[in-house]
C-alpha cells in the first residue's frame, strides 16, 4: 500500500493505492489520526480510486478516523470507491455513516 498527502482548498487529500489490509492498515491509521488529532485539519479527504482491496482492519482505521474527526468537529470525506471497496462499506453498513462522493471534484465541492 502507498499513501501520499497533498494540500487542497480547505484540507488535506490522502491518495491511497494498493490493499488496505492487516499488514498496511496501521500505516493508514497513523496517517489519518496524525492529520486529524495532531494537525487538526478541518477537512481530510481520502482518495480510494486505486485501492483494490480493503479488509475489516482497514475499515476499522477509517472508523477510528471518523470518530476522531467528529470529536474535534472536522470532516473525514471518502471519494472514488471502486466496487470492491463499496461492497465492503455496504457489508459493514457504513455507506451512510461516512461522507462518500463519486469523485474528487464532487468531494471538494461537498
Amino acid at each position: 500500500m502507498q499513501i501520499s498527502a497533498r494540500q487542497s482548498t480547505g484540507g488535506t487529500i490522502f491518495d491511497v493505492a494498493g490493499d488496505i489490509d492487516l499488514a498496511h492498515s496501521p500505516m493508514m491509521r497513523k496517517a489519518l489520526l496524525g492529520e486529524i488529532k495532531e494537525k487538526k485539519t478541518p477537512k481530510v479527504f481520502i482518495n480510494l480510486k486505486n485501492v483494490r482491496y480493503i479488509d475489516s482492519s482497514g475499515i476499522a482505521s477509517l472508523v477510528e478516523g471518523l470518530k476522531a474527526s467528529r470529536d474535534i468537529g472536522s470532516r473525514l470525506i471518502l471519494f472514488a470507491l471502486n466496487p470492491s471497496v463499496r461492497e465492503v462499506m455496504e457489508l459493514s453498513r457504513l455507506q451512510k455513516i461516512f461522507e462518500i462522493y463519486e469523485n474528487e471534484e464532487q468531494a471538494l465541492a461537498g
Partner: protein
C-alpha cells in the same frame, strides 16, 4: 445466508474415489497452502484464492466474497490465535466439491484453515451488531455474510475453521 444441516463432506475418505463402493468422489484437493503467520503473506493467499475461484467459475461477487472470507479468517488467526506473533504455521486447504449424483458437476468450494494457536473463545466468534459504529469485530460478520457454511472446531490442540461456498445456492436437504 444459508446454513448447512446435511451430511458433511469427508475429504480424506472421498479423495480415495470411494472405488470399493463404486461411488463418485464428492471432493478433491484443489489447492493447499502453508504459510507463516505474517500479515505480509495475506496478499499472496488472496491472489491464489482469486485465481482459484475464477478457475472454478464462481461469479465475480462470489470470488470476492470467498477471498474476503479467507483473508479475514487468516487475519483473525494472526491477531487472536497467535496474538500477532509471526513465523507460526497456518494451513489453508481448498477442496473442489462435486455433486453427489454424478461426481462430475461442480458444486462449490470447501476451505479448511488450521492453526496451532490458542483456542478461540466461542463468544468472540459471534458477529457483532452493526448498529453500533465502532472499529473492530467486522471480520466474522464478513465471513458469515459471505459464505454458506462457517464452522469452527477445536481438535487435538488445533483450531479448525471450515467454510463452504456453493456455486448455486443449495437447499439444506439437497446438500448431501
Amino acid at each position: 445466508m444459508l446454513t448447512e444441516t446435511a451430511v458433511r463432506t469427508q475429504p480424506s475418505k472421498t479423495r480415495k474415489k470411494s472405488a470399493h463402493r463404486n461411488l463418485p468422489p464428492r471432493s478433491e484437493l484443489f489447492l493447499e497452502l502453508r504459510l507463516n503467520s505474517n500479515p505480509e503473506a495475506l496478499c499472496l493467499v488472496r491472489a491464489a484464492l482469486e485465481r482459484a475461484t475464477e478457475v472454478m467459475h464462481f461469479p465475480e461477487p462470489d470470488c470476492r466474497a470467498i477471498v474476503r472470507s479467507v483473508d479475514e479468517a487468516l487475519a483473525n488467526v494472526i491477531r487472536h490465535a497467535y496474538k500477532g506473533r509471526t513465523g507460526l504455521p497456518i494451513e489453508v486447504t481448498c477442496l473442489r466439491l462435486w455433486s453427489a449424483n454424478d461426481g462430475r458437476t461442480p458444486k462449490g468450494i470447501e476451505i479448511l484453515l488450521k492453526d496451532s494457536g490458542i483456542a478461540a473463545e466461542p463468544k468472540k466468534i459471534k458477529a457483532r451488531s452493526l448498529e453500533e459504529v465502532r472499529p473492530g469485530g467486522l471480520g466474522i460478520h464478513f465471513m458469515k455474510q459471505s459464505m454458506d457454511v462457517v464452522e469452527f472446531h477445536r481438535k487435538r490442540g488445533k483450531n479448525l475453521l471450515r467454510m463452504v461456498k456453493y456455486l448455486v445456492p443449495q437447499q439444506p436437504e439437497a446438500r448431501s
